[in-house]
């Protein structure tokens, strides 16, 4: 056999083994293509556009940091960032405070799997109506002449209607809480339901009382659920604009609302700045939450 032919065979073998070795990655191709086109490219574009020059009626690709300076210098815009973070923290804390006991009940005190599932399904029943309707339904509830005020007045508990209920930060928080608390309950209940009963029996047998068992066994083992729930809630609340638009009477402007307004008035560069800021905030929050527990190990 000639050396050339031999080389040819070798390279054929090499070619074949290359496809055999890496063929499975072809499975990823559609997904990767999709994500590149509709996630990675837009993200890069967003960062790029945030440095474009914005004039009142037009935008050109001359690079400038003017939009960035405006964002951090302006009381309105930087304030919106602070407000977004504050509302996020309040909603996150309250979803945890309300969600954890609920999840604890479903995951630990309901031992029947069917009932557990039924209760979790019950938690998502509100989702059978659309998001916007659920948000808007708070208006007749919380308004000056809304259900709560009417009932309280009928019982003579208050003389004047409580005005602070609607079109304030409070109403935004109430609305978000109702929508997002279930995202906290689900993952936590799931983790709690997975805790082996024998662990709790062992702890009890070793002399620990119920509260110690909760503190040392149940809560640490449910932490992955808390983190997953917190990530869900955080990502959704940080990007929120509909609830605050509908329930704050445009008084509570979150970063999401500002993006909507800026895009509406064709201020693309400025909207991009806020988009980058929001994405960065979410990345930091998620990274921070993942630091709390090693999800890879726990799940």
């Amino acid at each position: 056999m000639s050396a050339v032919a031999e080389r040819q065979i070798k390279s054929d073998a090499h070619k074949e083994s290359f496809w055999r070795r890496n063929g499975q990655y072809l499975l990823l191709a559609p997904g990767v293509f999709w994500m590149l086109l509709f996630l990675v490219v837009p993200l890069i574009m967003m960062v790029y556009v945030s440095f474009w020059t914005q004039t009142t009626f037009a935008i050109n690709s001359e690079l400038t940091t003017k939009s960035w300076v405006t964002f951090f210098a302006s009381e309105t815009y930087f304030g919106a960032l602070i407000r977004t973070l504050r509302i996020w923290l309040i909603v996150l804390a309250l979803t945890f405070v309300i969600g954890y006991p609920t999840a604890l009940f479903i995951g630990q005190f309901v031992r029947n799997k069917t009932v557990q599932t039924a209760l979790l399904v019950t938690c998502v029943i509100p989702f059978w109506t659309s998001f916007l309707i659920r948000v808007l339904a708070w208006r007749p509830m919380l308004g000056k002449e809304g259900a709560i005020n009417i009932v309280l007045q009928k019982f003579g508990l208050i003389a004047e209607p409580i005005e602070v209920l609607l079109f304030t930060e409070l109403s935004v928080v109430i609305g978000m809480l109702q929508i997002y608390v279930v995202f906290m309950v689900g993952p936590i209940a799931f983790m709690l339901a997975r805790i082996d009963e024998s662990l709790l029996e062992a702890a009890r047998d070793l002399g620990a009382d119920a509260f110690t068992i909760f503190r040392k066994i149940i809560f640490p083992l449910s932490l992955p659920g808390v983190v997953v729930g917190a990530i869900f809630v955080s990502v959704m609340v940080l990007g929120e604009f509909a609830t605050s638009a509908a329930l704050s009477g445009r008084k509570v402007n979150l970063l999401g609302n500002i993006i909507v307004t800026q895009v509406g008035s064709l201020k693309w560069a400025f909207a991009a700045v806020i988009g980058v800021v929001l994405t960065a905030v979410m990345a930091i929050v998620i990274t921070g939450l993942l630091r709390v527990v090693n999800l890879r190990k726990e799940l």
Binding site: D196, S198, L199, E201, A202, A203, R204, D205, L206, G207, A208, D209, T212, K216, I217, P220, L221
Partner: protein, 368 residues
Amino acid sequence: MMVMSGLEKSYDGRPAIADFSLDVQDDEYLTILGPSGSGKSTLLRLIAGLDRLDSGSITLNGEAITGKPSHLRGLGFVQQTYALFPHMSVRDNVSFGLRYRLVDPVQDEHEVARRCDAMLELVGLSGLGDRMVGQISGGQKQRVSLARTLVTEPKICLLDEPLGALDANLRERMTIELRHIRATLGVTFMHVTGNEAEALTMGDRLIVLDQGRAIQVDTPDRLFTRPATVAVAKLVNNYNILPGRVEGGGFQHGDSRLALPEPAQVAGYYVIRFDQVAIGGIGEEIASGMASMEAAFIASEFMGSRVIYFFRRPDGGVFEVERHLSRDDPEDYAQGETCALSWPLSQVLLYGGDGRLLDMPAAEGRLQ
């Protein structure tokens, strides 16, 4: 000392534990043997307070603990599944009881560490304290689980099939170690198992549980040589149990008539231990004082130091013969070959139709 009297527990109307009474001494190794579903795990859970008794009472050193919650009973319970806390290191697992018990917790971390280390050394896990429980083997988990319970110095340690999940080699080593650990600490062990060999080796006393009742409480050797009922004999798994009836001075089992040790008794079961039987050719003379039966050879099983021969009884059941190779050489038989099985009459145990061992005063001394 723990006194249990009249313990009753049923699930959905089915009794799991029925009329169970027992005195547990200090410093003894008690094994509870029973087939699966006999209520042995339930019994431990009732004692530990993990399940509620329907009726009956338990007193520990004179103090009634029947109504006390589990964490105030001062008993240790080693779970079958080990139940180690997965988010803690071995050391934190072992220290859990000392640190967090409601009664008399150990506040001083040095003291916790000292006792934890001493216990880890006793169970042979020195140096593994900082591993997470996911990083240790099954046998080591078993030891951690044991150490975690023993370090709290329970008055009685309940072990639920502690060796069930270990492989045979490890199981054998752990039986020796468990006895050693128990003797070192002087704590009473109540060890539940479904394995008759384990129960016989481990216990100072052995309780046989069947359908929630204690059917025999005895030392292992007495329990082995004189099972109180047919059920115990079956569980000990070393006896051929031949049903039949006494007829014309012999025991009628299927078509064969077997000689009786003592004439004219009413018996429902004729029981002979595997290793008391000799295998001979057909037509060989049977010595006096021996009984014999013909059976067809099925197969043999080589067990290392002994061989088990399986024969087909005339009534279709299986008859087992055990031959220790230290006493006899193994022999081969052709499949289907009919042999004469014989055994000394002095070794025969007779049980009544209700399954109880018939009182044979003469039998006491002559059994080996």
